[in-house]
Symmetry: D2
Subunit: 363 residues, 4 copies
């Protein structure tokens, strides 16, 4: 249903990059969940651009929750978050109006909305909208945490530099969640930042891979056809601008191996069934097996670059040249990571509410 995601816990997103505000309606969240404003603000600040490796646009992200919260706790009715836009420089975009920026949604928006779309700064397609996702996601992440479910993401690679692998999730996830540049090995992180700065100096941009772990989801969640955990998660994740690929466990590595290498053997420990390895990323037949859910997202290089690019306009002009001005990110992977956590939280929480009912998050 278009701008709404979720079957029983649903999020509706609205707003444009250069409009008055962006926002989200979170519907189906259990009553009684404490709103932790400090945590919401912290999550928003992880998404917010900062330093040389991000756009110069600085938004305060001063959200307001205008419904669904009473005396500091969720009521169970739709929770609406509004985040005003305050730092629009819409003039930056006037010059390039009607030019299809390569890699962006300008042309596809034009094809879909026939020129009525708000084209300023990407409009409704802008990554700016993810601020609302992150604010709503923070509330869901709080609710999940109360049930012992943790989500964390690291920059597995950026500009060709790879982070080390996950090793001890119960410690690494909380640590990652505190970091502004989420890597397991900070020295690799420093190299990545240098590579981003180098690309920025060239007027260019870079991409990377985000790897996410979800700890604590019980076995037996998800459906065989079609609401597999993979299907529901990927459906939501592909909404995040720049994400073009999603794999679970070791998918694109497994394709070159054999079944005997990649079947995850079972064993019992403390009366719980576990697997020795986790190549399948915690999911078999579309359903959780109780092991950590592991997935990776391919984040393409940000399409906004300062190099001159050949393009067209919507009125038939060929061979136009686009020279972007304005404020752009040479990389968004370090900012996208908290968006991935938020989206994953929404999708997993929806599956849990579907499985266990609307009061699941109540205590």
């Amino acid at each position: 249903m278009k701008n709404t995601f979720g079957s029983n816990l649903a999020l509706t997103l609205f707003g444009e990059s250069h409009g008055e505000m962006i926002g989200a309606v979170l519907d189906g969240i259990a009553p009684g969940i404490v709103i932790d404003d400090a945590y919401i603000r912290a999550q928003l600040s992880l998404r917010r651009p900062a330093g040389k490796i991000s756009t110069a646009r600085r938004e305060a992200d001063e959200y307001r929750i205008v419904s669904g919260v009473f005396e500091g706790k969720t009521t169970g009715t739709p929770l609406t978050i509004l985040i005003p836009n305050t730092s629009q420089h819409s003039k930056d975009y006037s010059a390039t109006r009607a030019l299809a920026r390569p890699g962006h949604a300008d042309y596809t928006a034009y094809a879909k909305y026939h020129g009525f779309e708000d084209w300023r700064g990407g409009g409704h397609f802008s990554g700016r909208v993810t601020a609302a996702l992150v604010a709503a996601g923070a509330i869901v992440l709080s609710a999940l945490k109360q049930k012992g479910i943790l989500i964390g993401t690291h920059i597995a690679s950026c500009a060709g530099i790879t982070d080390r692998e996950f090793d001890d999730l119960s410690k690494e996830i909380p640590a990652l969640n505190e970091k502004a540049f989420a890597v397991l090995d900070d020295s690799r992180g420093a190299e990545m930042r240098e590579a981003i700065e180098a690309a920025a100096a060239d007027g260019d941009s870079v991409g990377g891979v985000l790897q996410t772990a979800i700890l604590g989801v019980p076995a037996g969640v998800g459906e065989p056809w079609f609401d597999t955990v993979e299907g529901v998660l990927s459906h939501a994740l592909f909404s995040i601008p720049a994400i073009k690929g999603v794999q679970f466990g070791d998918a694109f590595a497994m394709v070159n191996g054999r079944g005997s290498e990649y079947n995850d053997s079972y064993y019992i420990s403390d009366e719980e069934i576990k697997t020795v390895t986790n190549h399948n990323g915690g999911i078999n037949g579309g359903i959780t097996n109780g092991m950590p859910i592991i997935f990776s997202c391919a984040v393409k290089p940000t399409p906004s670059i300062f190099k001159a690019q050949k393009t067209v306009d919507f009125f038939g002009r060929n061979d136009a040249v686009l020279e972007l001005k304005g404020r752009h990110d040479p990389a968004i992977i370090h900012r996208a990571r908290v968006v991935v956590d938020s989206v994953a939280a929404l999708a997993i929480a929806d599956l849990l509410v579907t499985r266990f009912g609307t009061d699941y998050f109540m205590n």
Copy 2:
């Protein structure tokens, strides 16, 4: 909604591997589409196991369409396809009942259905169910073809052997659609088959990558949040057993490059806006741009292998040993390819009906 996929053109799947029959209900298909039985049979035969590289189970797949067709054409009301199971060897599974086969859904099904699931041959989780998907998909593929939309898939890699790349889609897609082993370069295909046979000889299995192209979808289809083309396609694709990763365009290659390399420049040709390259796989901002939609699926090695594996049973026994008997596929990638085409057809057709209304496929 669990075993139903699609917003306006919806498919509901049912049946178990060793039950009486499997089937599908296709709802929302336009009236007046000619049922091409020869084509449905041909598609089913592409999915059906054959030769040494597939399971020895041979099903006739004699489908019946029991509703929604009148005088050889769709009526517009729900179209139901039934495919009887005729070659169940359920005894093959009695010995391994209660043993969790590694890489399979036995344990997750147990966790979800509390032991009431039909465990024989994977039950409702079985790849057998995809026969119904393929039969329904054939009808949708016919409808798409009438609108000039073609879908084709090749085995981009198998057991580490890679096919050549797509070059001229309008010729390659029809050619692939005729092949039992869908590769662009048949000599590579021969190598792949040898690798599969070698794995089979070892009692082992292999995986690979399927790459799919969809030609002829107009620009402007899909939604920014959350029903992106990528999101809707991946949601459906991850239902196919063994698919663990999906990428659009060059996703996992782009992560190591720069924006200037991977932004697809626009140009105008014959009054149509096109892109010089297609790294984004025909989709920007979640919406089609009129270029071919390109995606790839990671198919893990089939989990059914004949080597002994350590596992557990559901009643607390650790260190059990599983020695599979029965009939299993050393690779399913060559069979899965027509399932991918069918699922892609359903998802794309649903997006088109959502965009253009219920009569879109009428003429």
Copy 3:
């Protein structure tokens, strides 16, 4: 989603009156529910025409459950029921082909399906399709009963003759469920039958009101906007052919009274909050209050009558005369009652599964 109803417990209907079979897929039903074939058959026989007050078409309704049941119990995967058609007299309809039967869906089906619809006997619009609803509903009614939830319907009025009112639901519901002609006062029932026979003798038909009670649904089920209990129930009920009105509690009586007469006062009995009266039919603000859910359906007189009627055909002929042949019901209210129970069961069960999770019906 067209021919599928339900959010978490969903039913998909298919089939045509004169096609090979009709059927239903019930998805989301908990595992472990015992299939009670005698009860399903009994429910089907209550729907089946019998005696002089029903059509002469006699169908055996020999259903088969072809998926989702294993060893006599539901598995939790889609449960498919097929009911072959055996007594089609399609020739009865050839003469009236292209004539729009007044009060029927012939013309609207033509407008929607452009002439490709199966027009024989009403096709997919036929009341025949409700046999599949009743079979699926019987399974859901069994599941509800295990949770202490009872549903029963009486013919509150027929041809202007009224039954007495509900008095002691816990006794009356089981009694009604056994009756072929479901009235609380059998002498009124006898009058109704006479009135039906009189209409039949005139080649005419009659309608009436069905009133339904649902006992045992806990307080707190339903949503304020938009999935109110009234909204969900009525959405499903209006699918039943001939139902044109639905009221909850004393709706159309309350409109002439005052708040002080119709506010249901609360009191506490055995630590449970109850209401002294139940004018609101067990629902306030769209949500159950723990009192019996009471609603009434207006069933219009059956449109198939033997009197000559003026009409048109689809090719522009005005002033055509329709003289029906074939087998038709002078009343369907006595048969529709078990369909209402079945549809109500599906809608209420869906709301319960949404509220309490997928295992709600497990024990």
Copy 4:
């Protein structure tokens, strides 16, 4: 999906009576629709209380559209309307906190939300929320009007006084849409107002019946099972507080008649198929037949009355006495009428977009 309604054109509602604001997100509306602020304001003023027959709470309803509109026209992306609450007298409710007001949703909200609900003034259940519905509905009504589709409602009866019947819809609908107290016969309207004032003088309240006509919907819209026009409309209508019954055409009158009286005969006029009578309210088999869609809603007497009422509190106190203070409506039927038009507009527009695609309203 809870607080969202619509398959392809969807509305999400949020907000509480005494919260900061209420609002709505309208998603799926075509791009290019002109926002007519004067019309939106006019519609809001029709809903707003006025004079002695309404509550003394006066809200300015100064809505803001904060997304989805650019340069005065819809963009096609989610359109968000916010309406601040400015005249809350929350203290009026403190005294009655924990008392279950008879006929209201207090107790059912408590049962559902476990005491975390915002109980002030009915919270999310309040009729106040319908202001957002009306603002969103005004945009949809504008879009429908451009396609020649008109919707109008009259107070068919109030406090036992009946209006005259519809006679010439194409004139009566525009006239009704201008009236603050929407009756066809103003002298009957004057009697109704007197009856409302009389009830108010007694500290009591009255109800009535609203009858609605929709003109201009083409034949062939809706589904046989389950998304019948009746089902979709009633699903939405029952969300409106105080509506407890919905009938199409002459439903509750037809139950006492015969088929020969109520079958609507077809004839052809100006090459269009029409019916002589319209007892079925423009719908056969769940699908529009091109005749006006006619339905009636039973509006119960407002539950807020000033007479003392016996009730309970949520902590076990029996025999409490509720004496309401504050500002309440002795009747809401005259205000509800514009809410009915708005809800009907949303439901019908959704069916049209489903049928004809997302650009249906574009020109």
